[in-house]
Symmetry: D3
Subunit: 137 residues, 6 copies
């Protein structure tokens, strides 16, 4: 890892979702997902933290420009998911259950293509203050 350092940028979006697996019966969905399966959706203030790890550029003193990273997150993630119904309004979750785990993995997949491979990338997603996930672990 040499002299690697990690930088973090936190952004947020507000979205509706419902946990549901179309391959299961309604009874199975209700048993597994409980209140999160209610048919008319509920929602969250999602907080997303993007961690980028690499070496410091000696000219700038930056690993990566956090203003550019913030702009990238806004274009690629916030514009896509903010004030949306994840199940109905997004391509990503039309056939994928929008659990926090799956949302974090989708965000990682989208940003991984836009961030140079010399950087490591990790996503933390808060669904509530008390429930959150980190990918990759």
């Amino acid at each position: 890892m040499g002299n690697n350092i990690a930088v973090f940028r936190k952004e947020h979006f507000n979205a509706a979702h419902r946990l549901h697996n179309a391959a299961l019966s309604d009874e199975e969905n209700a048993a597994i997902f409980g209140r999160c399966n209610y048919p008319n959706y509920h929602g969250h203030n999602y907080e997303v933290i993007v961690k980028v790890t690499g070496e410091v550029n000696p000219q700038t003193g930056y690993v990566i420009d956090l203003k550019s990273l913030s702009e990238l997150i806004r274009q690629e993630i916030i514009e896509r998911f903010d004030h949306k119904n994840l199940n109905l309004d997004t391509e990503e979750f039309k056939h994928l259950n929008p659990t926090a785990e799956n949302i974090a993995m989708v965000i990682h997949g989208i940003l991984r293509k836009k961030i140079d491979n010399r950087y490591e990338l990790k996503i933390t997603l808060y669904e509530t203050e008390r429930n959150y996930v980190e990918y990759p672990a």
Copy 2:
């Protein structure tokens, strides 16, 4: 006010909503409410703070038992709104636009009937960490 003291209890619920006034055209709704008017709903982690003001009971040292207040908020507010779509699933917002202002006033109306009139009651509702309301002012 004599020797009055205020006690506060904070609870939370997660819900979907959409800002929309059925008396207005779609264009007017979009112009007024912007992203909050998107048709398929979005959602929030709502934080609700209930403030009860009164005199301290000398026998208990309490204004009001916060465990009972917490239980009351859970029964009357959290059960009603948590993991619900405010526009579709609740009587209160079938014909009332679920802005933070209106949600706070509805919560105040529900709890006011359940809390003795010798206490003053105030509701603070956080829609996000940066947007919140207080009723009555």
Copy 3:
């Protein structure tokens, strides 16, 4: 109120306590105070916010020097209560039930004598992030 402005300073102390009224039977205490009446004490990270309201001194631009206010709170409140058992180690709560309400009123009484009467004084005391009190209301 003219041109009044309020300044706030937040400090904290960690203490053990138990809610108990010696004038009541053990059964009554258990019924009223529940887990908070357990005989061997429990504890909290208390956060205390001192609000001082007055006019701005044109020479300093201060209502009151917050460094001095912080020092006063440390001497009078933190030294007295920090890392103490409120029921056993303090004069104030030997015969007074250490509810959040009573602790806030005691703190107000102690500081009121030390702060010039041209200032208004209000105490907010957090027992937990979700339970707190404000005196006077």
Copy 4:
């Protein structure tokens, strides 16, 4: 006050400042302001909360559109003070000591002219998590 409700919007800016009263000697400034008087400035992440109180508009369910309020705060306050040296770069604090009290009063003065007088206006300014002010009290 009738049926008044308060809405709050929180924004932030990062600035350098130094507490200094040019009418006092260097010794007096050092004695009064301590570390805050150091000649080469220090800085803060300021959090500003704008509270607007009024009646709910029955057509919108809003007291005031918080997106517009946020935009107003950005134009009038954040653009003016963010990433600035308050003492050197701003008209407001060239001859006024940039204490939290004075900053809050200046922000109130700027926004008061831009917000209809049927609304009450209050400013809370956090200089640090533990030091903050509210104007008017």
Copy 5:
């Protein structure tokens, strides 16, 4: 690690404790533990974060059901320690000094037996907002 993802659940309990090693003299205990050794206990609002790492179950989109994890933490940890005196009321700390380090290791030991070994487990314990520990490192 393949496609591992971590999920986190945060819970809290309030307890009294005192740092003391019975194998040392009173003078040694006072010298090592300072205010934390005061004889009549003090207390904290402990925040415990349980991190579980594993693969996502494709049927549920969960690593593990956070509602079940929350319920497990409540049964095994919160019921055991909440509103207790750790030194006097618990088997775990009758002969073990209840430092944050030891509490985190005890919680890890209790939960490790209840969570399938295909999951990695890590405990973070906040004693105060500014002091916390993580086990295993």
Copy 6:
């Protein structure tokens, strides 16, 4: 790593800084650093978290005494940087651009000499709530 556990202590300081590389032209500096390059400095409430990893001392139940660690951070870091202009008032940043990355690496270098090598050391530095860095990664 055997039975290693990590302990964390959080402290804070307030400082002014400006991002600028003297080897670049003014136009290049403005292009790279934007508002952070403004000539008269701006500032932040920096939060620094020091993570120390090692084995628990069976006599104390501590990895390291957090009161001593806090005292060390205050002497070596807070005294050096608090209420200072990082560019003008400190030896460390006279010729090194005070980005969050560089500040974290400097803090790591200072503390690494003062903490026994049997402990691992990691620094997290928050420049704002939404921008922070961790070294080593």
